[in-house]
């Protein structure tokens, strides 16, 4: 018997998770739909005369991050309750399978459902705005996003990776923190980000003292007298590696820590 990972057991877990939580998912989905409808209604009513697709996209991202965080934080909520924790931990499946099942529902199912609902509701709002424009083309305007723009594509890519990382972080919070998990995870996340910003500012200030401009992978020094210009940079391979890790490492890193926390979990 494979004690590490079995797709058969994973499939059973996915089915079990859905069957036992179908009511909760249904109510959650309806609540999400209601919230999105309220947001769209407010946007159409207080958006002024010029509506921007960019606002819609920003609203989509804010909702995705908040709702995704809440949903991810609920994933291992069973472990903060003794009775439920025993039921969950003694189920014959490996910790890896249980984690992958949670990631599947968070990252794939939730994201697809949220995006689908957002698309449907936002299209309703856009249709309403287009109706306004048709009725009064001089008063109302709708500015679309150029999705072929490289900057926009880069932005979408960065937000997608960041979303994976944020979800993974909240998933970890649901295992590691027993009470007020969402609030505490948010607070810890905020502290880490603030700490990182301060650290970078400190580094940057240290480089400035020596008349260097710094951006993690290289530093430049200028001198007006005699036109001295120096650039200090790490190798291309090292800089590519740092950029790659900075983009992709966070979600797998948090998943790995979550897996260890699950293995260590005692009830």
């Amino acid at each position: 018997m494979n004690n590490r990972f079995s797709f058969k057991r994973l499939l059973l877990l996915v089915q079990k998770q859905f069957s036992e939580n179908v009511k909760l998912y249904l109510y959650g989905t309806l609540a999400l739909l209601g919230l999105l409808a309220i947001v769209m209604f407010l946007w159409t009513q207080i958006g002024g005369n010029t509506y921007k697709e960019e606002t819609l996209f920003n609203l989509y991202l804010i909702g995705l991050y908040i709702a995704g965080g809440v949903f991810a934080n609920y994933s291992f909520g069973m472990l903060s309750n003794k009775d439920k924790g025993i039921y969950w931990l003694t189920l014959p499946a490996s910790h890896g399978e249980k984690l992958v099942c949670a990631i599947f529902y968070n990252l794939i199912v939730f994201t697809i459902i949220y995006t689908l609902f957002y698309f449907v509701v936002s299209q309703g709002a856009v249709a309403y705005i287009k109706g306004l424009i048709k009725h009064d083309p001089f008063k109302y305007h709708y500015e679309t996003i150029n999705w072929n723009d490289d900057d926009i594509n880069d932005e979408v890519t960065v937000f997608t990776y960041a979303f994976f990382a944020v979800q993974a972080f909240y998933l970890l919070g649901s295992v590691g923190i027993k009470r007020f998990s969402f609030v505490l995870t948010t607070a810890i996340g905020a502290l880490l980000i603030i700490g990182f910003i301060f650290f970078m500012q400190y580094l940057s200030a240290s480089f400035s003292k020596n008349s260097l401009s710094f951006n993690i992978i290289n530093a430049r020094s200028y001198s007006n007298e005699g036109n001295v210009y120096h650039e200090y940079s790490i190798s291309r391979f090292a800089s590519d590696t740092i950029i790659f890790l900075a983009k992709f490492i966070w979600a797998p890193f948090f998943w790995l820590v979550t897996w260890f926390k699950l293995k260590e979990k005692e009830i």
Partner: protein
């Protein structure tokens, strides 16, 4: 089947076990007795991998329980005192959980439910605590795991249900299965238990088979205790005294677990002497 060596366990500063060693064999029902807070449930949770020992080793069916491997978990079932069941029908509960247990028998499960007289059309959340417990016990037995751990299984069961429980459990015992029951309500399970283990103050105070107990101790009721010597424990009742005495005359008396427990807890030295002395002979 279970081999515990030098187990140390503590909750932060509260020491629960201080180097106990124990073993449990297949084919028997073990009764784990002890005061509140002596660590009976803790021991069960260590055995099924929900808690990890601070020191010492636990070997269950050749596995280290703390690893919680699927092959181990599918051969062990714990019925906790306070338990959780999802808000689904019995059929759905079985559909979701039974595939994880290789030896689960649907026919046996249905028979157990029938024996327990559980209304199968209700969802689990609509059932009373006792009915839910019966569903969980029926499921636990139908999983046919080699090891079944039960923490206060008769709590919350009414008088009739306790009788049903004894009947069902007696029918489920076989030579490949080990059942460990932690309980305060010894009277409920007296007829089922083959081995008695008494836990107190982080130590194993007593661990003997019922056969051994009945060969070495006599449980008597007497109106004139003056003729008795070496009384290990006595309890006054309205019509006389219930006594635990050494079985010097090789009498055959029914083991009263409640009296045994009180005798062991109040007079551990003498009880230990009787068992140690006899085993040397």
């Amino acid at each position: 089947m279970i081999d515990i060596q030098n187990l140390h366990f503590a909750y932060k500063k509260k020491k629960v076990y201080d180097g106990i060693s124990l073993s449990f064999q297949a084919g028997y029902v073990y009764g784990l007795l002890g005061k509140n807070g002596t660590g009976k449930s803790t021991l069960l949770r260590c055995i099924c991998g929900l808690l990890f020992p601070d020191a010492g080793t636990i070997d269950v069916l050749g596995f280290n329980p703390a690893e919680r491997k699927p092959a181990f978990l599918q051969d062990v079932f714990i019925v906790p005192e306070e338990f959780y069941l999802p808000d689904v029908s019995i059929q759905k509960y079985v559909r979701c959980n039974a595939p994880f247990y290789a030896k689960f028998s649907q026919r046996e499960f249905e028979n157990y439910l029938k024996e327990f007289d559980v209304p199968v059309q209700n969802t689990l959340q609509q059932m009373s605590y006792g009915q839910k417990k019966k569903v969980l016990i029926a499921f636990a037995l139908a999983c046919n795991t080699s090891l079944l751990l039960m923490d206060e299984p008769s709590n919350g069961l009414d008088i009739l249900s306790k009788t049903q429980f004894r009947k069902v459990l007696a029918g489920a015992v076989n030579e490949n299965k080990c059942i460990i029951i932690s309980t305060h309500q010894v009277k409920d399970l007296e007829t089922l238990i083959d081995f008695v283990t008494i836990v107190d103050e982080g130590k194993i105070l007593f661990s003997q088979s019922i056969d051994e107990i009945s060969s070495k101790l006599a449980f008597k009721f007497s109106q004139d205790k003056n003729n008795m010597s070496n009384i290990l424990y006595e309890e006054q009742t309205l019509s006389g005294s219930a006594l635990v005495i050494p079985n010097d005359d090789d009498e055959s008396t029914k083991v009263d677990l409640e009296l045994l427990y009180k005798a062991v807890v109040t007079n551990p030295q003498m009880v230990r002497q009787i068992f140690t002395h006899s085993s040397k002979i």
